[in-house]
């Protein structure tokens, strides 16, 4: 196997409590390796610390203990080699779609134009290049943000519930498109979600985290071929296994 691109060793994180509340332990000893080209999903109950872990890997937050290495080097801060896609949408509203996608492109104008054109087409944003984000729907804005991340040509992409604010049908379409783009680009993606179905539809490997303070409860490989058929017994088996690991039932009305 290739050497890991991300190595997470014994990462702990606690936040100072406010006033008289005690310190809050969020992460309690995370060990994880992610390999080049892999699509890894972190799932866990809301508030379990999976976003915190992603922020630590991305360099936005420092761990209280432990270490994160990317390509063998310790993470000391955010880098343009690894771009974060935010749940709350970090597209810049003062720039139009073209300017947003080109924001992180460091190339001469002609080359930059070509790169932006490519990702406009790839994300299905053709014809919207002069539109401003506030004129777009939430799904389109997330497409712009993903295109902006890809255009910067990072080796890693981090996504923190990027489809969380979208409606159900838009989410399904975005997942399908994300997978097909990942298959073309082969970037390493670490994707945080609380949606088990989403993780099974997307990932090569689902990392299930415990409630806070989070540990890794189980790693579930998803060996299903793509495009994934959501009706097959194999899909449902993986899904139900993750539900079971999290102590829940996929059936509405049943208490787990």
């Amino acid at each position: 196997m290739n050497p890991a691109i991300i190595e997470i060793e014994h990462v702990h994180k606690s936040f100072h409590g406010k006033g008289r509340t005690a310190n809050i332990a969020v992460l309690a000893g995370i060990d994880l390796a992610v390999y080049p080209g892999e699509f890894v999903c972190l799932v866990g109950p809301s508030g379990c610390g999976k976003s915190t872990l992603l922020n630590i890997i991305a360099g936005f937050t420092k761990p209280t203990q432990g270490a994160v290495r990317i390509q063998g080097k310790p993470v000391e801060g955010p880098s343009r080699e690894r771009i974060f896609v935010f749940q709350e949408n970090g597209v810049f509203p003062w720039l139009n779609v073209r300017e947003n996608i080109g924001f992180g492109v460091q190339a001469r104008p002609a080359e930059k134009r070509a790169v932006v054109d490519r990702y406009l087409a790839l994300m299905g944003l053709g014809g919207f290049d002069r539109a401003y984000p506030h004129e777009l729907s939430g799904g389109m804005r997330q497409r712009v943000e993903i295109a902006r991340a890809l255009a910067a040509e990072p080796t890693l992409i981090f996504m923190d519930e990027p489809f969380g604010a979208l409606d159900f049908l838009t989410r399904l379409k975005m997942r399908a498109d994300l997978v097909s783009i990942w298959q073309q680009e082969r970037k390493t993606i670490v994707f945080v979600t609380h949606d088990i179905e989403e993780s099974v539809q997307l990932a090569d490997r689902v990392i299930v985290m415990t409630p806070r303070p989070a540990r890794i409860q189980e790693e579930v490989p998803v060996l299903l071929p793509r495009p994934r058929d959501l009706d097959t017994a194999e899909y449902l088996e993986v899904r139900d296994r993750i539900f079971a690991v999290m102590g829940m039932s996929p059936k509405v009305g049943e208490t787990g």
């Binding site: 880098s79 935010f86 509203p93």
Partner: protein, 258 residues
């Protein structure tokens, strides 16, 4: 129908009030307070003596210089105070003490420092407009969506680039709102300043018309001109809010492409 009402209703209001003004003056038998027609004649007289244009230009000149200086000082200062917490802690109390002092209260000091020339009203306009600009720019930076700063850092922006490409544009809508308030105040203050410190301008026109022969027709003419020019200035600066780079800051939703 709506456009019709929006255009004719204000005209109707103005017409009725002008008529009422005329009737009240006629019936009261006063020979000091002017009728609307006297005011119109007064404006015509100012035009023919070449004073109208001269005074309007003089006032606008002072506002332009004072306001521009306030923008050049206020915006960078506000951005710095909003971004660097120690600077904010050090300077904010001072600003909050200086801010409520009416620019009128500075008149004696303005005259002491600059004597009776253009610099005195320009200084007063600068003082009047710089504080709203600083305060709005500071608040804009402090309220910036953290996700924009994080995205900027992610793309490796630091220092001047971070300010130029992200912090400044992110704050621009709120800064423009501050500029609009500041320009309104600047126009209020230029008139007051010209009553004391200089011998041209619309403020000077009003005080001079009263002192040199109780020409209340010219006093009212000056007041109406001040109002109209103030309205024009506000409309001008509001035009800035329609630019693509800032429009997002004034509307929540609307015209989405699905």
């Amino acid at each position: 129908m709506k456009r019709f009402a929006a255009f004719y209703l204000p005209l109707l209001t103005l017409g009725v009030l002008t008529l009422a003004w005329d009737q009240v003056v006629v019936r009261s038998g006063t020979d000091i307070f002017p009728r609307p027609v006297d005011v119109l004649r007064g404006v015509a007289e100012l035009c023919s003596r070449g004073l109208l244009l001269k005074y309007v230009v003089a006032s606008l000149f002072r506002v332009s210089i004072g306001f521009t200086l306030a923008v050049l000082v206020g915006v960078p200062t506000g951005l710095m105070l909003g971004w660097f917490r120690p600077a904010f802690l050090a300077f904010n109390p001072l600003i909050q003490i200086l801010r409520p002092i009416s620019p009128i209260a500075w008149i004696p000091i303005a005259i002491l420092w600059f004597h009776v020339d253009d610099r005195a009203p320009i200084f007063l306009i600068f003082l009047a407009s710089v504080f709203p600009i600083v305060v709005s720019a500071t608040a804009a930076v402090q309220n910036i969506q953290p996700v924009y700063v994080r995205a900027a850092r992610n793309f490796g922006l630091r220092g001047v680039d971070l300010f130029r490409r992200v912090i400044f544009p992110a704050c621009l809508p709120q800064i423009l709102t501050g500029l609009r308030i500041a320009l309104g105040i600047a126009w209020l203050v230029v008139v007051a300043a010209e009553m004391i410190a200089v011998n041209s301008g619309l403020g000077y026109l009003i005080i001079d018309a009263r002192n040199a022969g109780k020409r209340y027709d010219l006093v009212v003419a000056g007041m109406i001109l001040i109002g109209l020019i103030g309205l024009g200035l506000d409309l001008m600066i509001r035009r800035l809010e329609t630019f693509d780079e800032v429009r997002w800051g004034y509307q929540q939703k609307g015209g989405q492409i699905e």
